[in-house]
């Protein structure tokens, strides 16, 4: 199915969980934060929360800044 991750339309397995997605994307889980359709999904919810087609996901981390 198609979801939007950080503004890019991306194909992901149907009803993939956030946890799985983070794995697929090969992200360091303890270093990122995830927003699903404008609401934060805390780490402990990552297993349960499954994506639906069309979902908008934002995955952020820390970058250099002042």
């Amino acid at each position: 199915m198609q979801v939007t991750i950080n503004g890019e339309t991306t194909s992901v397995p149907d009803s993939v969980s956030i946890a799985e997605l983070v794995g697929i994307l090969d992200l360091k889980k303890e270093r990122v934060a995830v927003e699903l359709n404008r609401g934060i999904v805390s780490r402990k919810e990552w297993e349960e929360v499954l994506l639906k087609s069309g979902d908008k996901v934002e995955i952020v981390h820390f970058v250099g800044g002042g």
Partner: protein, 260 residues
């Protein structure tokens, strides 16, 4: 160096009064060298999207040992309270810390804060348990309002971000410090070591800078300069400077001269 001279924010003792940013370094290596030289304990970071397609760049956090440094995420780039709150929440989620350098920008050319929105965002985030360190201008009235709303510190700007103009209005910074019961941290505008010393001599508790170090021709050396300047300014403030006079006073004795 100075016995028991430290800054305390939200129960954490901070011994280095120089806070540094992580932006604009040529390399992670250079940044690490600058941190080492500066002696800083608090480092600011920004919250941005991960680039899904290109993952080449080393992660910033690999370079910053959380045991050695206090991470201070910012809300740079936010132009209203809602966005700033959103970034603050993501920062907490990503960083597992409640500290936030709250920025709500009001104008693109000056990057000066929108104090109305800043107060609003501070109100919300303090309620949510954040340790809010707001970036504001040098207005004593706004500073006191932020404090009254529960800000853990106030961070007045010395001059526009990245301008290197130094403390444009020392009288305002001095007044803000006089009125404040929370730490006052000069944030932005420092261009060289003496600017940082001036901020501390006004009685401020710390100085936060990024471009002044990262933008120097030799960032590592400038980082060392800034670390020393902050200590020098702090010590001079504690030591109590001589008053200014328009005329001279001899430092050598006037008696004991030879016969003509």
């Amino acid at each position: 160096m100075i016995e028991n001279d430290f800054l305390e924010i939200a129960g954490r003792k901070i011994h280095s009064r120089l806070f540094v940013g992580t932006g604009k370094y040529a390399s992670i290596q250079q940044m690490k060298g600058a941190f080492e030289a500066s002696g800083a304990e608090v480092v600011t970071v920004a919250v941005r999207r991960i680039n899904i397609s290109d993952r080449s760049r080393e992660s910033l956090l690999d370079a910053i040992d959380p045991k050695k440094f206090i991470l201070l995420p910012n809300t740079a780039g936010c132009y209203n309270a809602e966005d700033a709150i959103r970034y603050a929440r993501l920062a907490r989620e990503a960083g597992l810390s409640d500290w936030i350098k709250l920025e709500v920008i009001g104008d693109e050319k000056t990057l000066y804060p929108d104090n109305e929105a800043l107060l609003e965002a501070t109100r919300v985030l303090v309620k949510e348990g954040f340790v809010v360190l707001p970036y504001t201008n040098d207005d004593p009235v706004t500073a006191r309002k932020l404090e009254d709303l529960g800000a853990a510190a106030v961070m007045p700007l010395g001059a526009p971000i990245g301008s290197g103009l130094g403390i444009q209005n020392p009288n305002n910074i001095r007044i803000i410090k006089e009125m404040a019961r929370v730490p006052v941290i000069v944030d932005a505008g420092v261009g060289t070591a003496s600017d940082a010393a001036v901020a501390m001599e006004l009685g401020c508790d710390a100085v936060l800078m990024n471009t002044g170090i990262a933008g120097a021709q030799d960032p590592v050396r400038m980082a060392e300069a800034m670390g020393l300047a902050v200590k020098a300014g702090r010590l001079a403030y504690l030591a109590g400077r001589i008053p200014k006079k328009s005329y001279a006073t001899a430092s050598s004795p006037t008696e004991g001269m030879l016969a003509k």
